[in-house]
Every structure is written in structure tokens, then in C-alpha cells.
Amino acid sequence: MSQQFPELERVRVEMPDEVRDRHLASISRALHGKRTGRTRFRLLAIAAVLVLLLPVIALAAERTGPGDLLYPIRELVERVLPSGAPTTSGEPADSEDLLPPVHRDRSSVDRPRRDQEVEGSPRPEPVRETTPTTSQQQRDDRSDDHDRRDVTEVEDETTRPSSDEPGTSQTTLRPEAPPTREQRADRP
């Protein structure tokens, strides 16, 4: 009760009953249910930390070995990841298909293995142009044929066809490589 300023008595008010009841109800709700907000915030914080930390832990576990602390995590990651993904053993199922064409092993295209030849099939003949070629071209052709032969093949000078006999089959110990698609197309 201020005696210096009696005007300030008009500032003193009382809380209405309905407002008081409403406030008490909100206080009661806050007392019984307020922890959920804090708990929710803590859970969100833990989830954010896990989302950031788990990839780092997985990366760190890649280089571990048996007996290391993070090795179980590495096993778990390898179990979870799909089988096509490259692993440390280096033997993926379809890794060759994943590689760009420039890195493919061309030996399978240009030089088929001997076991792929069908028995009884005619001996493949090198593609020879029907038009008379110059001796240089013939030498180039011969060198190409020579390159295609197996490195273990013993060259027999007697069996090497002469340059003046175009179209003759080469009587060599090892069969020649089958003509390529381009060579077959060039045939008449």
C-alpha cells in the first residue's frame, strides 16, 4: 500500500477466478507432461549425432582386421551391403560389367581361347583381299597374322605360306585366329 502515490493503487488488480483456474490447469499440465518436449529434443539430438557418426565409423571399420575393436562393425557392414558391391577380397560377381568399355579385356574379343573353337570346324583362314595387293600390304598382312599366333607356337618356315600364293590356307601347326567381323565383311 503506497502512501506516497495513491494513484498507483489503481494498478493493483486481482486475478479473476476463471483466469486463475485456467492458469492452474496449465501449470498442472506442464508439471505432468512437460518432460516430453525435453525428451523429444534429446532424442532428436541423439539421432542427429548417430546420422553423422555412423558413416564415419563404417569408414573407419573398413580397414580393421579380426581382433580389432571395430571389426564387428565391418562384418555387419559387409553383411548389410549388397553382394554386387566391391569388397576388400576383390572378387565381385559382375565387376567387369561395371567397368567402362575402355577398360575391358579385349583379349576375349580379339583373341578367343583355343578351347572355344569347335572341333571339326574348318580351319580359319586369314582374310585375303582378292585384288592383287602390293608386297608391302602382303607383308603387313603377314605381320598381323604373325602377331595373332600364340607365343608358344613354334614357327615352321616351311609351313609359312609364300607371299605369291594368295588365298592359300596356311599349313601351320596351330590354327589361325578366326576372321573378325570386318574381315568377313570384306570378303566377296
Binding site: Q4, F5, E7, L8, V13, R20, I27
Partner: protein, 196 residues
């Protein structure tokens, strides 16, 4: 021989030990700390009118002042487990919480340029409209003070707080509070004299 007679008499200072005045809220402090609904209810019933009057004088709007009081108690619920102190500290804490709410309301009004006196109708039809807002003369007189002066005037003359309690609310020293109070009383007295 009695040694007690030879020894000089010790001068024992007898201090007047007076029991500290127990605050009405002291017995509820532990309950508040333990989040007891009964303790919170008791504190609310003891403090609601003083807090509402303080907020009403600060803001001039009763509805907003009621919201400030509710907000202060909600904040007390959130930080009850951290509260350390007695009944006087709890009372100061509540007044400080209401004061901070009023400061936030000032900032909000300054952004939106709202003034309670602008909302007063020219002719009042219902008592609710009259009692919701502070009288224009008194509002103008309080608006002539700075925020700190208005705070100490209301804490002292409406809330009935002591110098020590006001210093706790303002987070300053008692000397500083009394200095602000003296200037506030002088200014308010002059404005009210001009108004009358």
C-alpha cells in the same frame, strides 16, 4: 586458589541474534523443487495478484499481463529442479521472470508499433473494456519514466518488495536500486502533479 578469580574477565560480545523472518513461501520451496503440484498451487495463489499488478503497471494491458504471469509459472515448472534459494529468492525469481516477459513484449510492440492507449474506445460501454487497460493519465505518467524507473516504482509501491528483493530482481546492488528509485519517485511525482 581459584584460578578463575585471577584471570581477567573476558569481554563477551552479546549479539542480538534475532530470528530471521520466515517468508511465507519458504515452506513451499522444497515442494517447488520436487515439482509438487500442491506447492505450485500454493505459490501461485500467494503470488498471482502481486505479479499481475506488476505486469499490469508495466504493460497497461490486463490480458497481456495475465499471459505474462502464466508464462512465468510455466518457466518455473521447467527450471524448478535447478532452483536454489529460499522463499524470498523464489519471489524475486518470479518478479524477474515477469519483468523479462514485459521487456520482450516491449520489443514486440516497438516492432509492430502497438500502443495499448490506441486501442481504447472513445466511449466505454462495458466494465471489461474499462478495467482491461490502465487509466490514460496514469499510463502517461508511467510511460514518462524509463523502463528501470518504472520497474522499481512498481516493485516498491505495488509489489511491496524491499530494497534487497528489488536488487535481486534487477540483478544489481541495493545502492543502485535506491538511486534509481529516488529518481523515479521524483519524476513520477512531477508528472502526476502536472497531470492533476
Amino acid at each position: 586458589m581459584d584460578h578463575a578469580l585471577l584471570l581477567p574477565a573476558k569481554r563477551v560480545r552479546i549479539s542480538r541474534v534475532t530470528p530471521t523472518d520466515a517468508h511465507p513461501l519458504d515452506r513451499h520451496v522444497d515442494g517447488v523443487r520436487n515439482r509438487s503440484e500442491q506447492a505450485f498451487r500454493a505459490v501461485y495463489l500467494a503470488m498471482a495478484n502481486d505479479l499481475l499488478s506488476f505486469a499490469f503497471g508495466m504493460l497497461g494491458d490486463r490480458r497481456t499481463a495475465e499471459d505474462m504471469v502464466q508464462q512465468a509459472f510455466i518457466e518455473l515448472v521447467e527450471s524448478a529442479h535447478q532452483f536454489r534459494g529460499d522463499g524470498k529468492a523464489l519471489r524475486a525469481w518470479l518478479f524477474r521472470s515477469v519483468r523479462y516477459g514485459c521487456l520482450d513484449e516491449y520489443r514486440r510492440r516497438s516492432r509492430h508499433r502497438e500502443y495499448p492507449s490506441d486501442r481504447l474506445p472513445e466511449r466505454a460501454h462495458h466494465d471489461d473494456v474499462i478495467s482491461r487497460y490502465l487509466e490514460p493519465n496514469l499510463q502517461r505518467a508511467l510511460d514518462s519514466l524509463t523502463e528501470r524507473q518504472r520497474t522499481v516504482i512498481l516493485l516498491r509501491h505495488v509489489g511491496g518488495l524491499s530494497g534487497h528483493e528489488m536488487a535481486r530482481v534487477m540483478k544489481t546492488t541495493r545502492k543502485a536500486v535506491y538511486g534509481v528509485l529516488a529518481r523515479a519517485e521524483g519524476n513520477l511525482r512531477q508528472v502526476l502533479r502536472e497531470e492533476s
